[in-house]
Amino acid sequence: MESEQIEIASFLAQYPPFNELPEEVVNNVACQIEISYYRAGSEVFKFGDKIHELCMIRSGAIEIYRRNGDLYNRLSTGDLFGQLGLLMGNKIRLPSRTLEDSLIYFIPERVFTELCERYQSFSDFVEVDDRSRLSNAVSRHNESNELMISKVTALISRESVHLDDKATIRQAAQKMSEESVSSLLIMTSALNEYGEPELAGILTDRDLRNRVVATGLDLDSPVTEAMTRDPVTLDDDAYAFEAMLTMLRYNLHHLPVLDNGRPLGVLATSDIIRYESQSSLYMVSNILRRQTLEELVQLSKDVKSCFVRMVHEDANSHMIGSAMAVIGRSFKQRLLELAEDKLGRPPVRYCFLALGSMARDEQLVVTDQDNALILDNSYDKARHGEYFEALAQFVSDGLNACGYSYCSGGIMATNPRWRKTRKQWEECFADWIDNPDPEALLNSSIFFDLDGVWGKTKWADQLNTFIVRRARKSPHFLGCLARNSLSRTPPLGFFKSFVMEKDGEHRNSINLKRRGTAPTADLIRVHALAVGSRAQNSFERLDDIIKADILPKGRGTDLKDALEFISMVRIRHQVLDIEAERRPDNNIEPENLSDFERRNLKEAFQVLSNSQRFLKFRYPYTRKQK
């Protein structure tokens, strides 16, 4: 006779895959269980042990290892283990050990096999390991957004219209009228080695207005004088969302798509907006049209709703981060234009820098302003100092009014320390790289992600090249940076009270930025510098890192999935805050997570933790070379 096991059954029913089974089946499983108590630090299974039961953690925590002793996974209440061994010849492949005093429920193999045979949901769950589950979670999310699965070629509505670079502006305008197009691709008359013309430039309606009519340019001058040379283009195998990112990033209205250098068509903003109803692209052009600070402040209230909309449209974190960064950058650009209107022409040339998450295209709604100024080498503090101080103050105050609060660490162009000439910046970065003391390392994690937003933006690129070249050749610096990036660890024992943030008002919560996305970005930066990547965005850096083949197989994509998942949980919880009219923050309370989020988040943290351990090994700490 079997007895009812209400207590045990109600526990099982809370966790997948049992939560999808009929109640009487769960009750029956509960009656077949065996229970065992393990003290912390005891071995549950060693490699090669026979296994004939599925194990479920009732309380406590278990660590799963690889054969070489590397930590593979850390599990807690409600998690299963042993399924891999059951499915692969009843032998333990991954040994396990208790991290805390633990109570384990053992479900006999006979019951396990029967459940696998009878219930698809059960076998799907146990046959997929956690890592693939994370990648499925990410791709399932991506598949729900059309921009993510459509290729750019699907967006091209008609073939592009071409003209030879020998043509005149008048001929170009006539051709555009005949074909009723708003852009024209200008092709070289000289043929390349394959006997084909190449793309020389693009001419748009806007160019005719701004560069021809407004300046009174002779209509019979060559079209090359009015066109944009070497325009930004996209390959035909790119996805629609990449087109959107590119157009946002460079504020483009027309984007040629090439097949091996041969133009296929031109994407217009309107082609993208069809997919993304109320686009962040609108937001950007709106910002650039505001005439006063007050109007900008008014408009800044829409940033949050733009963010919420993108999340509801299932955009991925790269899209959202880029869109928010472009919006932030646009505010800066417009504020700088307004500042120059007010203060007059700058006495020397300069470049206004965005630092940190904005530079990485990873900005969200909770953000402060990190910025700096590069000044021309002819800058003279006595003569020009006052101008740039006023300029920085105007922009910084404006940004603060628009919701980009002052940087508490004082990393703003208003701080005289962060207004330097090109030469001084190079010296400063060289010093940080050569003498990585704690302060230098702290600065590195902010200043090494830099992006020019206004003025001589080329200087930012040059400075970036300087940094990458120098850092790459300094193993001592990379070792220090690696070690420094390990100071923030992911909360592995996620649901256990001891890992919660104990400070301030957010007790019993986890800061997903501090414990998740920031350490991931830090870690990716180290690898990116080591492989000489000049990308700023963490996903793009990862692409370069994967190409350089310095990570163990599969780790790069695991890390991408992990970063994407943690970012999306962070983003979704900010949206929940905004919709509930709370102040959005980076904290999440584990009880507010869905089971799906909880499970995958834990896996993502595990990936991050493993990657941190690899980093330590890849960039050993070395003494400074004399």
Binding site: M1, E4, Q5, E7, C31, E34, S36, S59, F106
Partner: protein, 238 residues
Amino acid sequence: MKREDVNAAMDWPLFFKEQALVCSDSRLRTFYEHGCISPDTPLSETPFVALDFETTGLDSDHDEIVSIGLVPFDLNRVRLREARHWLLKPRKPLVEESVVYHGITHTDIDDAPDLGKVSGAVLEAIAGRVVVVHFRDIERPFLDSAFRQRIKEGISFPVVDTMELEARIHRKKLSRVLYRLIGRRPTSIRLSDTRVRYSLPRYSQHHALTDAIATAELLQAQIRHRYTEDTPISAIWC
């Protein structure tokens, strides 16, 4: 000598042999014939059975058993497949206070059997095993009393009391009076509070079978923390 010390010092295997010869009731005889393990049996080889009763009150002479839960186990595994649970019909009507406590109501037990009907099955399930309870003044005396009332023969057997094991640690140091004097409460050795100290999960209480499982898990935990696999059973039974 206190009663528990008498029990602990008792030669249980010999007692079982004698009882097997003198008992007239066949169920009791069979129970004793299964014998009792030797006092020097190591804990790792001891077969246990956790036993829990819900009763109408605390007095074994007047109150009665309303449900019995039991689960066989050893140091490594608690085997739910072999767990048993019975509702019983007491001879005297239920009083409201006990209904509140264990949640068993009149309608639940209207069709339930008398203990006499299931006692054979209960004895069969615990035969050859060392009985484990939390607070020894319930199960053994109630079973003894129930048998005496029905067949005029009593029953006794060694038990491991998880509450007493816990009291050995927490109650030895200071007397209750001293605790009161220094204004501190003694550590609670109730089942649920004790389980928390061993990081065991919270189970709903006062269901005889769940409490039996909870007690079995607790003894596994106590042994893992306080004893070794080689400790003889005589060190913990009474």
